[in-house]
């Protein structure tokens, strides 16, 4: 545990001290939500303002990006060779990749929580009032799953660049299909049905039902599903991770 703590702390510091990552995790979602919220304010009503919509939808997009941070933290060139020294040392291989998952999870959770609080204070985005914990729970489960996904895909493909390309394409598809950039339920029954193929849709629907209808029916299946997928992803990551890929 002592050794794991050391590795975890270093992985977390590597994320926190990289200005580009900090901007990407805090400045980028903040700016995007504010800009889109402002530009689209005419197309939304008063109960759910454009800020309310994008404050949730684009946050979910941010959660997807937890995978980008974790993929980078395991294969980024800058820290690849010092990571190799960890492989030489007497630590369990599981610690090495799980630490990257956990560090990215903590990093994203801290960053997005900050963004949500800032948005709630400045433009009054609704995250469920007294039920805010449900939105937080969805974010936690999502951040963990996507952080583990990034590491697992990277361990499988052994290449950070390819991982990023594949995942970002997939996430863009998920996001559009799930209505993260604009609501697509108005586009017809068929499209609305297809959109449930996207995890984004599940997360978005779960959040909005809780926030506006006090309906928690999607919460347990969503979090249960994400937990199950996370466990699977961590196990696969352990299977695919090979220390010698650093050498």
């Amino acid at each position: 545990m002592y050794k794991f703590k050391q590795i975890f702390r270093l992985d977390l510091m590597n994320l926190l001290t990289n200005p580009m990552w900090v901007f990407y995790a805090i400045g980028f979602p903040l700016a995007l939500i504010l800009v889109l919220g402002f530009l689209m304010s005419g197309s939304y009503g008063h109960t759910v303002t454009s800020y309310d919509y994008y404050g949730v939808a684009l946050m979910i997009f941010g959660i997807f990006n937890a995978a980008t941070f974790s993929a980078n933290s395991i294969m980024e060139e800058r820290i690849k060779s010092p990571n190799m020294r960890i492989v030489y040392s007497p630590v369990r291989p599981f610690y090495i990749h799980f630490s990257k998952v956990l560090a990215s999870f903590v990093f994203c959770t801290a960053a997005y929580s900050l963004v949500a609080v800032l948005l709630h204070i400045t433009v009054g985005i609704n995250y469920g009032g007294a039920d805010w914990w449900a939105a937080l729970a969805i974010m936690l489960a999502g951040n963990f799953f996507f952080a583990s996904l990034g590491v697992t895909v990277c361990c499988l493909l052994k290449n950070e660049g390819i991982t990023n390309n594949i995942l970002s394409t997939l996430f863009a598809l998920f996001a559009i299909l799930g209505g993260l950039f604009f609501p697509i339920d108005g586009l017809g029954k068929a499209i609305s049905a297809i959109s449930w193929l996207s995890p984004a849709k599940w997360m978005l629907a779960a959040c909005f039902r809780i926030i506006y209808d006090g309906d928690f029916t999607l919460l347990a299946p969503l979090i249960g599903g994400l937990a199950l997928l996370s466990a699977l992803s961590v196990l696969l990551g352990a299977r695919f991770f090979r220390g010698e890929d650093y050498i």
Binding site: Y2, K3, Q6, I7, L10, N14, T17, R78, I79, S81, P82, M84, R85, I86, V87, Y88, S89, P90, V91, R92, G243, E244, I247
Partner: protein, 252 residues
């Protein structure tokens, strides 16, 4: 002298290309065993396999009579590794680097601080302890690369071309250090393609070429072997030895 490591019939392939062709050797307690060979001879591959970090395709490696895989973490904790490529966190200070890597060997508290102090002092970096690595010169990074491998006082120190690309003064400092570490009881496995280094520090030499061990012995015994073929003892160098064995020069 006790045998610490015994390697038998070691084979390694990358994809379908075999690069180590069934080599065998031992590492004995208290020696400075130098692996000498040109680029691509298979020194780093052999060494990475010995560290337990790289898999191989045939043969066996044992540590004090037991397979290194019977207690891999226990085995790894006895090693100190200086990789050929610098393995340092550029954004951290020298001290943070040493502390972090030493902690992975289980060092804590006062022992950790003491190990770090020893390693930085030994490599002449004490006054740079609080400086970030990205402000270091190449030679200083090389020295820190060594410091990170010795803070936990390993039983066997494995150094892969630790002097590559540094000035003669830093190199001298490193070579002196290696000899001192041996005096303190460490066993050292050292690879290089500089024969001057081998002549200066080795207690035993293994010459490798194209994935094979082509000669083994002390500096004197290898030269004596070459002498009988060549003219005078003065002109015989390890270069001559290598030339005689392979028909080519070590330097290209």
């Amino acid at each position: 002298m006790q045998t610490i490591i015994e390697v038998n019939g070691l084979k390694k392939s990358y994809k379908d290309k075999e690069v180590i062709h069934g080599i065998g050797f031992t590492v004995n307690e208290g020696e400075i065993l130098c692996f000498l060979g040109p680029n691509g001879a298979g020194k780093s591959t052999t060494i990475n396999i010995i560290t337990g970090a790289l898999r191989f395709d045939g043969g066996s490696i044992s540590y004090k009579g037991e397979s290194i895989y019977s207690d891999l973490l226990g085995y790894k904790s006895r090693l100190g590794i200086v990789p050929q490529d610098l393995a340092l966190y550029e954004d951290l200070t020298a001290e943070r680097n040493v502390l972090f890597f030493a902690s992975l060997y289980g060092l804590k508290g006062e022992a950790l601080k003491e190990g770090c102090r020893f390693a930085l002092e030994f490599t002449g970096l004490s006054d740079k302890a609080k400086d970030k690595v990205n402000t270091f010169s190449g030679g200083m990074k090389r020295r820190l690369n060594i410091a990170c491998a010795i803070a936990h006082k390993p039983e066997l120190l494995i150094m892969d071309e630790p002097t590559v690309g540094i000035d003669p003064q830093s190199r001298k400092h490193i070579l002196e250090g290696v000899k001192q570490l041996r005096k303190q009881g460490m066993t050292i496995l050292y690879t290089t393609h500089y024969m001057e280094e081998v002549e200066e520090i080795s207690t035993r030499i293994i010459i490798m070429d194209l994935g094979n061990i082509i000669a083994e012995g002390t500096n004197e015994s290898l030269k004596a072997g070459a002498e009988s073929n060549d003219a005078s003892a003065e002109t015989v160098s390890l270069e001559t030895v290598f030339l005689q064995l392979t028909g080519k020069s070590l330097r290209n």
